[in-house]
Amino acid sequence: MQKSYKLVALLAGALFLNSGSAMAEEGFWSWLGTGTIDGWRGVGVVPVDSKQYKDECGSCHFAYQPGLLPTKSWEKLLTAEGLHDHFGEVADLDKDTLQTLRDYVLNNAADKSMHKIAKKITIATEDGEAPLRITEVRYIKRKHNDIPAKMVKDNKDVKSLSYCNACHTKAEKGIFKEDTVSIPNYPDY
């Protein structure tokens, strides 16, 4: 009897450690003194670590990190029908590739992550219908509210908020902090 208690306690402990590690990531690295190197500091979403995802999705557009949308959004986007009309583009994938990418993305969606931006996006999309565009997420909209149209929509080198990396110089690393923003043609912003 006592033995099985021990086992349960051990298992629970292991689980706790596991879920805690993601949460502690940022704190841990800055505690270690590596915080000033942009390796971990200010990482808002987990960077893409699937080469296949980067290749397949990134051949047409910025390879948006899975943590930028909740599971329920990705579930709608990443189906054979969904990709056949992917915002007006035909983005068909073969069955195996789709399955692999879908698994990867769903396992890393915003609501599976403890990173700051992912958490904010999860909260912002909890109620209501799943957004299909990252730019429709309430939190993302609010964050870009005060930027005038001339700097985004009417800026020939930006055009739309969809091009994250047009201004967010470290977008690929999952870093979207304000001090890493550089708006083309508006160096003083």
Partner: protein
């Protein structure tokens, strides 16, 4: 006998020069097109189709050159996302036509987007011949 070998080597060299861009992937593609009944692939037809415009459902005229450059040695630009598309000419971009799955993937997607339907084996063969020959 020695002359015969020389002749064979010469013919071989000529053959290789004519098929400079051929890869196992393109060989497999052409074999597939042939088994689908297509034959006599023409780079000239491929070239004509490359700039052929077809209207989409909402009346927008689309052709291969909407996103790819008419000059295959130059990079193109994705119509919507503006992402740079590397040149199609294998002479400038040696990654082209080395992966059969990739060739088929893009034929399927791009024919459907541009012409609103999949391309036939003949059309694909003509395209491939045209693209491979680009210097």
């Amino acid at each position: 006998m020695k002359n015969l070998y020389t002749l064979m080597a010469l013919i071989g060299a000529l053959f290789m020069a004519a098929n400079a861009a051929a890869t196992p992937a393109t060989d497999a593609e052409f074999a597939q097109f042939k088994s689908a009944g297509a034959a006599n692939f023409s780079a000239e037809h491929g070239k004509q189709n490359w700039s052929k415009e077809v209207a989409s459902k909402d009346g927008e005229k689309r052709s291969c050159t909407t996103c790819h450059d008419a000059d295959l040695t130059k990079p193109g630009k994705h119509n919507t996302t503006k992402k740079v598309i590397e040149p199609m000419a294998p002479g400038v971009n040696n990654e082209r036509y080395t992966d059969q799955k990739k060739i088929e993937k893009w034929f399927k997607r791009n024919c459907e987007w541009t012409w609103g339907r999949e391309c036939t084996a003949q059309e694909k063969g003509d395209f491939l011949k045209f693209l491979m020959g680009a210097k």
